[in-house]
Structures are given as structure tokens and as C-alpha cells.
Symmetry: C2
Subunit: 365 residues, 2 copies
């Protein structure tokens, strides 16, 4: 794997196992019609040949039907309708993008109905509830994937190929960061669920920190063995959850990833792996619609490859459909997601009380 | 201060206070003729109009004289000669680039002779000895500057101007890293002093970690209030000192800098400040002879300005001469350097024993 292969690889769907032309699309019930579902998921599914949005589920029939009116072939129903099995024949899988603490409820229902599940990250408000979510899918024998869109982001996959090929030698250190101005630029509502500890479970760490954490795991093909970190809030709106989290993740062999997440810093993201022979950086790394820069340095040379932004939700949903239709297991499954939940809870443990930042060991999963 | 001003500013010596044409050069005794002095300092002084190398001091007369033979107007003497006051009339100041644990001895001697002092960083092998070094200079009334070449590196000064001007809003987070392959690429000698705890006092943290630590302080104009970190060694050569250090530095207001230093990773360096309105990155940041990229992002815009490499030693020595000849205090003085020594010792304290990585508070200086 060399640079020319990256350029050639570009945004190839190297994960593809089935022919979209010979496959029935996976029909989705979308649960939770917030801005992300409306602005990101619906447009992606309109483009997809592997997925269809057929059922839209929201709090009121009015909202669900209003949004469904713009989606050909879709119908809108309420959360109660969904629980009652309304339109069950119209979907094969569910996508859950509600506030974190509601994931379990909808996933349990979907699993009981035998529908496969794509659930947003973080999986739930706690690792205990994430465990219950996994168990519900296991009992029902349905597929469970956690929506880590970095796993199918072309720049991240190309970076992993470089690491795998040894181009940067042995990884020694990683740095990842993701920040945005939640209140000032994304959503000014002081009552939004992301600021509510009961609904969200965590703040910047859960919302943004999970990106560098999980992407570090993905790039290294390894799971953390210990973490440490500190959190901070400067504004009243962040009295229940962390506005900012700076944390370190230790991997086997002493490889350390230092990570940063903030709801009160400029929209910025980057992910770097430094190895014994070189380094690779993806910047911007995590937000959607930004052209990716993939910078590889080795010896005295440094090359930056610009990659057009991929439609991350299209890639993610199509990957899910590829695995479900192809009868293959998904990579970011429930157990994979649970590792992040446990690691993030350990960061909060490290950040709390005395000896803030102390190393907290994680039990082998 | 806007981007066009940076381009215009380029490598301006905005710190200049005196006219080189109307100033007698500062004559230096260079103490310690290792590769850095020979390869970096001597060529810089040859270029300088403000400084001259007049006395070269090394372990043997043979080595000192051999090197002096190539330096017009310079003579070579031994360490013992230096202590005996040989050639005292030939220098106004000393530059000390010996192993860390020998700094104090030579600085004390120089101070007793009334010579001003430019001493390499880290100042000594411990904060206690750094304190003694400061006291010796204070007693003698000579200038003491710690050789932080980042303070006169144009890209760092331009970045600081951007931060000062509020272009990135309020700084929230910093990330800095510096790594090299000490044994494999720089110096293969397993007996070199940098690997000897008695002579060096510390490993990657002292040698490389001091760059992001000090540069973060310089960019923020602030001193750390707490640190935490972890160290690691994978090879026998690093049995006495750390091969790698990952550490966090907390500044007032909860601003955190996550830093990384390694003697066993690819030559890489970067320094980023993320603020509420934007971010600025210097990359490469710390090694010499590398063209600097200064990247500023704000809103949807991102600009990278390439700056030609400055001769960092020339800038640093000339700054010292400017301050000494102009009768003005140096910015990176002994007390400034001591803050880094104390912070780095606190990182080692955090990294040692139980609760590795725990927050260690620093007493206000």
C-alpha cells in the first residue's frame, strides 16, 4: 500500500461484498426525526440503492406525517404506533437516533419484532443499558450495528490501510480531537437533551470524544486497556454534563492516544497516528461535508492528499445493508460499542473527585 | 493582526531594540562542543553581526583547538582552563551546552567571572539545581537566559500575535508533540549522556517534551497550575530515563495542553491552539531547518502560510545580544525556565507509582 494506491483507492467501497443491482433494498424505520435524521439520513437514503426509508417515527403523528410527505413511499407514525407494531410489514430494520437514554426502549421493541438494528452512538446513557441493548438483540437474533460513520469514511479507511501496511512503522502515539460550539452554532436551546444528564448520560465526551476514541481503536485494531482524563464546564448550561473533556487512552504495548472533545471550541477535528517510521494525519477528520486532507509523512517527505467529502451516512447505511443482505457480521457491533461506553465511563471516573486524571484500568473485554 | 500582516511580518525581528551597526558584538565562550554546538551554533554565530564565538571550551585541548582552528578569531581551551579563568578577557558571555547536570558548575564559574549566561534547556538535571543556578547569577548580577529557541522562531511569534489579537477567540485547548528516533537516527551510542539519569535528569520529557510545554506557555502567556502524565520505555537503553512521555498541562481557566514526547517515534512535531473562534497550528513546529506551515482556521475558512525556515540559533543568540547590549531583561530568564523544571518534575511524580497520571498541582510561582 503506497500513496499512489491511496489516490487510486480514493473512496472505493473496499468493504463491499454484494451487488446492489441484485439485492432487495433494506427498508428502514427511522426512529427520531431530529435535524440529523432529516438533514443527513433522509438525503443519504434517497441516494442509496441499498436502503429505503419507508417508515418515519416521531413524537406526534403530525410531525411524522409532515416529514413523510416529502419522502416517496414513506409513511409517518408515532412512537406509540411503533411500539404497537404499526407498519411492521413496511420495514426490515430500524435506525435509532433518539436521545441516548431512549435507545434501549426502541431497540428492545425492534428486536422483539425481529427487525435488525442500526443505533446511534453512544449506544445508550450507560454501559449497563448498552449491555441490556446488546442482550435484547442477541435474544432476538437480530443484527446490531453501532453507527460509527468513521468506519466507512474513505479517508479513515485509507489511513488504516497505510498503518496496516507498515508505512509509518509501529504506531506509538495518537492524537485526536473534535470540537464545536454546540450552543452558539449548532443548537442554542438550553433545554436540549444533550445538556440533560438523564437523557444524554454524558456531554462532550459522549457526543464528540467518542469519535477520536473509536477512530483510534479502528485505526489500531486494538481496544483500550486504561484511560485517564479531566472534564470541565464553564457555562451554566453545562451544569449536568461536561462541556469539555481531555482524556488519554492507553492501548496494549503502551501506545497512548490523547484526545480532546469540546462543545465550546471552534469546529475543529483532526486524527493523527505517529509511528516509528512516519505519521499519518486526517484533517479535518470527523465532521461531515468537509473535504478531507490525508497527510502522510515519512523521512523527509510529506504528502497531503485531498479527498472529496463522502456522504458518510450513505456509506454507513449501505455498509449495514451490505452486511445484512450478505449475511455477514458487522464490524462495529454491540460488543464493539460497549467497549467505548465502558472506556468513557472510566474517563468520568478518572475525572471525578480526588486524584483527577488518574489512570483507570479497564477489564479485558 | 490579520493574515496579510502575518505574511508581511514573515520573519521580522519584531523583538529588536538596538541597531546592530552601532553595537559591539557580544563575545561568547561556547562550553560543550557537541554536535549541536558545532553543527548549529557555530554556523549561526558566523552569520551573526551581534555575536562572535571567541572561546571554545571542551574536555581536551586537542578537541577544543581542532574545532577553534576553523573559527576565525577563536581559541580553544579545556574545561579546567575555563575554570582557571583562562581567556577571561576574550568573552563577555557564555553559552552552556554540556550535559544537563554540568550546567550548574559552568554557570557558577561564569557568573563568578561576571559573564552573562545563555544556558541550554532543560536548565539542569533538577529544579533544585536550577534554583542554585539562578541564585548564582542573581548573586553575581549577570544576565541569565534559557535557550528557548521557540521564543524567537518567527512562526511561533506570528502564531502568538494571532492568539493575542483574538483571531481564534479564547484559547480552550492546546496540543503539542515532538518526537524523533534518538538511537536510530540521531545518535546510536548507548552510552550517551541523554540516557544517563544522573547526567540528564530526565529522558524524552526533558529533552523534547519541554518544547510543547514551554511553547504552550509562550503562546498563552500563562504558567501551568497542574500537570498529569505517563511515561514509558520499551528498550533497555531507556532503563534510566523515559523513552516516551504523554502529559497534560493545565493552565488557569481550565485550558489544557496535551503534549507528547518520544525518542522512539518518527521525527514529527506540531503545535496547535484551539480557541472558541478558530484554531492555529504550526507544523512542523520544533525541529530546525524545516519549512514552517502556519495554518489558521476560522469559520469555514482555512489558510496555510508557508514560512521559510529561520536560523533558530541565529535568532536566539541575536535576541540575547540585543537584550544584553540594550540593557533590557530577557523574557525566558531563569525564573521562567524554573517553571518548566518544576512542571516536568511534577509530570514524573504523576507518572510514578500508583494512580499514574493523576493531577499534580503546582504551587504558584
Amino acid at each position: 500500500m503506497e500513496l499512489d494506491a491511496i489516490l487510486e483507492g480514493g473512496s472505493d467501497r473496499d468493504w463491499r461484498t454484494i451487488d446492489p443491482e441484485e439485492t432487495e433494498p433494506v427498508r428502514f424505520a427511522l426512529i427520531g426525526l431530529g435535524w440529523f435524521t432529516r438533514g443527513r439520513v433522509l438525503p443519504a437514503l434517497e441516494e442509496s440503492r441499498l436502503c429505503d426509508a419507508t417508515v418515519l417515527v416521531s413524537g406526534t403523528a403530525e410531525k411524522a406525517e409532515r416529514i413523510a410527505a416529502d419522502v416517496p413511499g414513506a409513511r409517518g407514525i408515532t412512537y406509540d404506533d411503533f411500539r404497537d407494531g404499526v407498519a411492521r410489514d413496511a420495514y426490515d430494520a430500524v435506525y435509532v437516533a433518539t436521545p441516548n437514554a431512549l435507545h434501549l426502549d426502541y431497540v428492545e421493541t425492534a428486536a422483539e419484532f425481529g427487525a435488525d438494528v442500526l443505533v446511534e452512538k453512544p449506544m445508550e446513557r450507560s454501559s449497563d443499558r448498552a449491555r441490556e441493548l446488546i442482550d435484547a438483540c442477541d435474544r432476538a437474533g437480530v443484527e446490531l450495528m453501532v453507527a460509527y460513520r468513521m468506519h466507512t469514511e474513505p479517508s479513515v479507511r485509507r489511513a488504516r490501510e497505510l498503518v496496516d501496511a507498515g508505512l509509518i512503522g509501529e504506531p506509538t502515539y495518537l492524537h485526536g480531537r473534535m470540537s464545536q460550539r454546540l450552543l452558539d452554532r449548532v443548537n442554542p436551546d438550553p433545554d436540549q437533551w444533550r445538556l440533560d444528564a438523564d437523557l444524554a448520560g454524558g456531554g462532550a465526551l459522549f457526543d464528540l470524544g467518542v469519535y477520536p476514541l473509536n477512530t483510534a481503536r479502528f485505526l489500531l485494531r486494538a481496544d483500550p486497556i486504561a484511560v485517564g482524563g479531566r472534564t470541565r464546564s464553564t457555562r451554566d448550561a453545562f451544569s449536568e454534563v461536561d462541556e469539555t473533556a481531555a482524556f488519554e487512552v492507553e492501548f496494549p504495548g503502551g501506545v497512548v492516544a490523547s484526545c480532546f472533545a469540546s462543545h465550546n471550541a471552534s469546529q475543529e477535528s483532526a486524527m493523527t497516528v505517529v509511528g516509528t517510521e512516519g505519521a499519518v494525519t486526517i484533517q479535518p477528520a470527523f465532521f461531515q461535508d468537509e473535504a478531507r486532507g490525508l497527510t502522510v509523512s515519512r523521512g523527509d517527505g510529506r504528502a497531503t492528499i485531498q479527498l472529496d467529502p463522502a456522504d458518510q451516512m450513505l456509506e454507513e447505511f449501505d455498509y449495514f445493508a451490505d452486511r445484512v443482505r450478505g449475511g455477514r457480521a458487522v464490524y462495529p457491533d454491540g460488543e464493539h460499542g460497549l467497549v467505548d461506553m465502558i472506556a468513557m465511563e472510566a474517563v468520568y471516573e478518572s475525572a471525578a473527585g480526588g486524584d483527577e486524571g488518574r489512570r483507570v484500568e479497564l477489564e479485558p473485554s
